[in-house]
Amino acid sequence: MSVTLASVTKSEWIKFRSVRSTLMGVLVTVVLTIGLGALITTAIRGHWNQMDPIAKLTFDPVSTSLGGTLFAQFAVGVIGTLFITSEYSSGSIRTTLAAVPRRSRVVLGKLIVLVASLLVVAEVVCVATFLLGQSIFSGVVPTASLATGAVLRSVLFGGVYLTLLAVLGFALGLILRQSAASISTFTSLLLILPIVAFLLPQSWQSAISKFLPSALGRAMMSTSPPANFFGAWTAAALLVTYVVVVLGVGVVMLVRRDA
């Protein structure tokens, strides 16, 4: 018997599911996505008749029904962050790394657990909030169907977006090692950067805004992304690139630094 990727993944799965913060994080993700999705779609249904004709024309029932992900993204970021920073705050990282001296394998094991479990949760939640939203819209507001390719893609990309953000939170935790610092950095990337971009001169703003993680998410979850946004697949590829780069830095630091 020896340490294999399978044994490490199994170990990380036991750790992941055996703490309350994971369960709470998942619960909050579900409640925020579906609950806020229901709230947003209900509000729009109520105001649909008073809405401006141009707004009606560009209305996207898919991304609107997925609106709760804008809040749930913070919950998944915290899940990802705590998966590693809790090991530093408790000191158990030393037990982990003594048991598995090949550190990149620890990261890979955690990543498999994080991506697999979040993908399942986030996809189920995104499909559910989409279906709930369409049923709330139905009869008053135009609706979309998963049978349409672009609609299915947008909904599934909702789950992919949340999963990538969980990995981003994890990667920041790997670098910063502290829960509070990692979570506030994560929050800054998603909340503060768009505000900073908004304060820039108009020409810069349109050039820069579309690169922000939140804008990439919006592009991924739109059936036809608005002007000034990347196409959905380009946005997804760009977000994957960001996450992989941050993760790469995190792995190098984990391998190089003393535990």
Binding site: T4, S7, V19, R94, T96, A99
Partner: protein
């Protein structure tokens, strides 16, 4: 066997371990003794592949820690009993640890039972006393039935009954032929727990040997009483002895008792007492590390 080979570890400007070398043999309990801040924990972290040596190396049974396919089956360690996620149960903590090295889950129940914490196995570790945490740490260390065991200050926080239990446990591990390496900053503790002792101070090697070796090699004094203490003192001083006079007799150092007896005989002084004073291990330790205590002697006292 554990080997530390010219190990140096710097943290920025701090030299935590300084060109340290020693071997730890199997079959006995080896104490690793030094004042606080002398580099014991650092040495152990390097042994476990957690900290990278600045210079030198440590090996376990001739191999680098990173080369073990399943480290927990070779080396068990307890570095910090409180270093467990407080929200996880003891059982889940051990299950995760076992799974990582392909150790059967049934072994978890065995070690929980052995450590005497089976009844609280499903409780969150955050609520554990330090003593219970130490027991959990010990359960984790023996999970893979390893031949080499490292314990960093394991006695801290244990009640007297727990201390007796852990001492017997170390002795049993050693009798089974395992390598048992136990650190402490408390001399009195080591004297009772360890067969062999390695003393370090300020990251440097100071001494290694059995408790007996260390106490007898120390520059002990000889107590002597005679019918003419004043004249004897004078003669002994002439021969390079350091003599302090007290009301009962003389405390002599730098001269061995046979030499003192010879001098008395030659001078026609009759001796009523001639006793080599064996230094206590505590005194030896104080003496050995006097120059290397980082924050004053308060840390050395038991």
């Amino acid at each position: 066997m554990l080997r530390v080979d010219h190990l140096t570890k710097n943290y920025g400007d701090t030299v935590a371990v300084n060109d340290l070398s020693f071997d730890v043999a199997p079959g006995v309990v080896t104490g690793f003794l030094g004042p606080n801040g002398s580099g014991k924990s650092t040495t152990m972290r390097v042994m476990l592949g957690l900290d990278r040596p600045t210079k030198g190396a440590t090996t376990i049974n001739g191999r680098s820690y990173h080369d073990f396919p399943a480290p927990l089956r070779e080396v068990g360690a307890l570095l910090d009993a409180k270093a467990v996620h407080p929200g996880r149960s003891a059982r889940n903590h051990l299950r995760a640890l076992a799974a990582s090295n392909g150790i059967a889950p049934s072994r978890v129940d065995e070690v929980l039972e052995f450590a005497g914490i089976a009844s609280v196995a499903d409780k969150k570790v955050g609520g554990f006393s330090l003593g219970m945490s130490q027991r959990l740490g010990i359960a984790g260390a023996i999970l893979g039935d390893p031949g080499v065991l490292l314990f960093d200050e394991p006695v801290n926080g244990l009640d007297p009954e727990g201390i007796r239990w852990i001492r017997e446990f170390f002795a049993t591990l050693a009798r089974e032929g395992r390598t048992v390496f136990v650190s402490s900053h408390l001399m009195s503790e080591m004297a009772l727990t360890a067969d062999q002792i390695i003393v370090i101070g300020r990251g440097r090697f100071i001494a290694q040997g059995s408790v007996d070796d260390l106490t007898s090699h120390a520059a002990g004094t000889v107590f002597v009483a005679s019918n003419d203490n004043a004249r004897l003192a004078e003669r002994l001083r002439d021969l390079g002895g350091r003599v302090t006079v007290n009301e009962r007799g003389l405390d002599v150092s730098e001269l061995v008792s046979t030499k003192i007896g010879g001098v008395a005989l030659a001078e026609g002084i009759s001796l009523s007492e001639l006793t080599p004073q064996r230094a206590s291990l505590e005194e030896v330790f104080m003496d050995l590390t006097a120059d290397s205590v980082e924050y004053g002697s308060a840390h050395v006292a038991s």
